[in-house]
């Protein structure tokens, strides 16, 4: 079974991991316009989400803005 | 060296020009004349020791004169609070009176005909030994504009020879570049005194007709170079009596304030050289001489605006006045000074820069300080601990 580490947690993808970052975000129901993504410690620019491939075993950080002082 | 800080304010030339303080200052005459005693009362009730232009203007005004006693009391209290009941002592060591400038007020003026004296490094060390034997550990190396002989290398070498004996070495010499000041800092010199003499461009031009010192802007920029080079102490001053002392005090304060804001690690001091008779120099030609009251007003006003600035008094002033000024905000005194190169050993009959009026020995001055209720401090800081 293909696995991705997302935000520090291993997540299993029985149907296989999505091909691109855009597809992953859609699957997770996350608004692309406001999220920041890092794959294996590398920041991915938003305009490149749809072209960015996702591979098994990668560590992905999905971060967004929240209230803070 | 100065970091890449984001100091966005103007440089000192612009500040003085915009405030009308690099000329005769006539813009301020009317204001000064019209300061009311109530204004002075207000200024005196502001927290003592913090600077603002209006406050200083008020304190040095003719109206401020009636409040001299109160200013003195406040200045005394503030100084004791910040500096303790102590007075630092230092001695000047004149290295050369051979000068390439022709400043009209100075005994060393190159136009004056007399035999010039330059001390070799060994001779200077001999003088310094005498100074040290009097108890001094704080020495000020002074020279005329004699770049050729009293070069940067000379000063560095002399400093290295003296640093074992003196805990603080400062210089009062012709203007240097930042790199040159940095080199001297490495050799053990930690302070530089450089008087603008006058912030009035026109007067400056008149009094310094020729020689490197005739460059007003270069002179004015030099304290920046001193501070940027890492010197811990920056000594400012004007030659009191050349022009209107009130305008000069305003300019001097603006200069200090600018340096304090720009170079937060440097300590600023003020000196108060009053015009004195010197070789071929007669005082009656000068029309702006200061009375003792003027001097006291200036000293106390500056103290009330700069809580932590050093206020330095030399032996130009007569003994009686110095004794009283010790209680009015002064923090550092010279004593037993000889302003002629070789004067301490008495070997040469060299000409003095100016006549001294307090001829008491250092021991005598120290006793006077004690009598006033202060402790004379010969050694304040030992740079040898760390460098």
């Amino acid at each position: 079974m293909e696995v991705l580490k997302i935000n520090g947690v291993e997540k299993q993808f029985p149907a296989g991991i999505p091909q691109t970052l855009t597809e992953l975000l859609e699957q997770l129901n996350i608004n692309q316009a406001t999220v920041v993504a890092e794959i294996d410690d590398k920041i991915i620019e938003r305009q490149n989400f749809s072209q960015t491939r996702v591979s098994p075993g990668q560590s992905i950080e999905l971060v967004r803005f929240v209230g803070g002082g | 060296m100065l970091g890449p800080g984001k100091y966005t304010s103007a440089d000192i030339r612009t500040i003085l020009a915009e405030k009308g303080l690099d000329g005769d200052g006539r813009r301020w005459h009317h204001r000064l004349e019209n300061i009311h005693p109530d204004d002075v009362e207000m200024a005196l009730s502001e927290p003592a020791g913090s600077y603002n232009f209006e406050k200083l203007l008020t304190l040095i005004s003719p109206a401020g004169r009636k409040f001299l006693e109160e200013m003195a009391q406040l200045a005394h209290q503030l100084t004791v609070q910040r500096f303790g009941r102590t007075i630092r002592l230092y001695a000047p060591l004149y290295l050369s009176n051979d000068c390439t400038n022709s400043c009209r007020y100075c005994g060393f003026n190159k136009e004056n005909k007399f035999e010039r004296t330059r001390l070799t490094i060994d001779q200077a060390v001999e003088e310094a030994n005498i100074i040290a034997s009097e108890g001094f550990r704080d020495i000020l190396l002074v020279s005329s504009e004699d770049r050729q002989f009293v070069s940067v290398d000379y000063l560095a070498e002399l400093a290295r020879k003296l640093r074992g004996k003196f805990s603080s070495i400062s210089i009062e010499v012709y203007q240097l570049s930042s790199a040159e000041y940095a080199k001297l800092f490495e050799s053990g010199i930690e302070g530089v005194t450089l008087y603008q003499e006058t912030y009035n461009r026109e007067a400056y031009r008149y009094y310094h007709p020729s020689g490197p010192k005739s460059d007003f802007d270069n002179r004015l920029d030099s304290p920046d170079h001193i501070a940027a080079a890492g010197m811990r102490e920056v000594g400012l001053g004007v030659l009191l009596g050349l022009t209107d002392w009130r305008i000069e005090t305003l300019a001097l304060a603006e200069h200090a304030h600018y340096l304090i804001k720009r170079y937060w690690q440097s300590h600023v001091s003020f000196s108060f050289p009053r015009l004195r008779p010197a070789y071929e120099i007669e005082c009656s030609q000068f029309r702006h001489l200061l009375s003792d009251k003027d001097l006291v007003q200036m000293i106390t006003a500056l103290r009330l605006c700069f809580a932590d600035a050093g206020l330095v008094l030399s032996t130009r002033e007569r003994a009686e006045l110095r004794d009283h000024l010790v209680k009015l905000g002064i923090t550092k005194l010279s004593a037993g000074s000889k302003t002629n190169p070789g004067g301490y050993s008495g070997h040469s009959g060299a000409i003095e820069q100016f006549e001294i009026d307090d001829n008491r020995s250092p021991a005598h001055v120290a006793a006077m300080i004690k009598q006033q209720g202060f402790e004379p401090v010969w050694k304040d800081w030992d740079i040898a601990f760390i460098r």
């Binding site: 935000n7 920041v36 920041i43 971060v63 209230g67 | 970091g3 984001k6 913090s50 005394h76 009015l328």
Partner: protein
């Protein structure tokens, strides 16, 4: 009243608003509007992929307010720098409120890591607004490395204690050549006015507004307080009178001249 200038950009308002601790996005948005602010801080957190929650950023009109991401949560310079880069990638904004708080109790800022991070971030072209304890030397060192402001705390975050660090704040304000934004611990509008009266260039308020029973009203109160304090400062404040009592005269020796 003159404008606040940070990194060459002008602002009318001298009140910055923090967006944490609000009960809802709507309350936050209303408070922001009533405060008259032009700068709003936000934090970065991992998206909770199990729960889709409100995306607060959509509640903030980015054409009206400058978003100032903070690095809250960072406990080291490296973490702060990483958060800074993430924030910049998210928004394209290079402004950053640098917060390095290893202590989870008082959330006090780490001076060593803050200075370290500031130097690196400034070199990487960030406009850095560092949150610090009221340490005048640290403030000068940060200025020297090129931060756009310093943001000394009045008292610990959320404590609502007002200007506990007053004496140090006064020194920082006196010595700074960059704007000083008093941040953290301002619990009452009078605290904010106080900070402005002693010469702060701006203040940042979060907890006091977010946790008020009526955040929008409290935001208005702070707005007025900041304006009042600044106006008084610019006009020139009367001093508390402290006059000397003469003991023995010091100038009796001066002759009539």
């Amino acid at each position: 009243m003159d404008n606040l200038i940070i990194a060459g950009r002008e602002f009318n308002s001298r009140l910055l608003i923090g967006t944490g601790k609000f009960a809802s996005c709507e309350l936050m948005a209303e408070a922001i509007e009533k405060s008259g602010t032009e700068i709003v801080t936000v934090a970065l957190r991992r998206v909770d992929i199990e729960n889709e929650d409100d995306d607060m950023l959509s509640a903030i009109d980015r054409t009206k307010y400058l978003l100032l991401p903070n690095t809250s949560g960072a406990r080291s310079a490296d973490e702060a720098i990483r958060l800074g880069k993430l924030a910049r990638a998210a928004t394209g904004i290079k402004w950053l409120k640098l917060e390095v708080t290893p202590d989870p109790y008082y959330l006090l800022p780490d001076p060593v890591e803050t200075l370290k991070a500031a130097e690196i971030l400034v070199k990487d072209d960030f406009v850095v607004l560092p949150y610090i304890n009221a340490d005048p030397i640290l403030a000068k060192k940060l200025e020297d490395v090129g931060t756009a402001t310093v943001m000394p705390l009045a008292s610990p975050i959320g404590s609502n204690q007002g200007l506990k660090t007053r004496a140090s704040l006064e020194i920082i304000i006196e010595q700074a050549n960059i704007p000083v934004v008093v941040d953290a611990g301002l619990g009452l509008p009078s605290h904010a006015a106080d900070a402005m009266e002693i010469g702060a260039d701006a203040v940042l308020v979060n907890t006091a507004i977010a946790t008020a029973t009526e955040p929008a009203e409290m935001a208005t109160a702070f707005k007025l307080a900041v304006e009042a304090g600044r106006m008084a400062y610019e006009t020139g404040l009367p001093s508390v009178s402290k006059r000397a009592s003469a003991s023995s005269p010091l100038t009796g020796f001066l002759r009539e001249q």
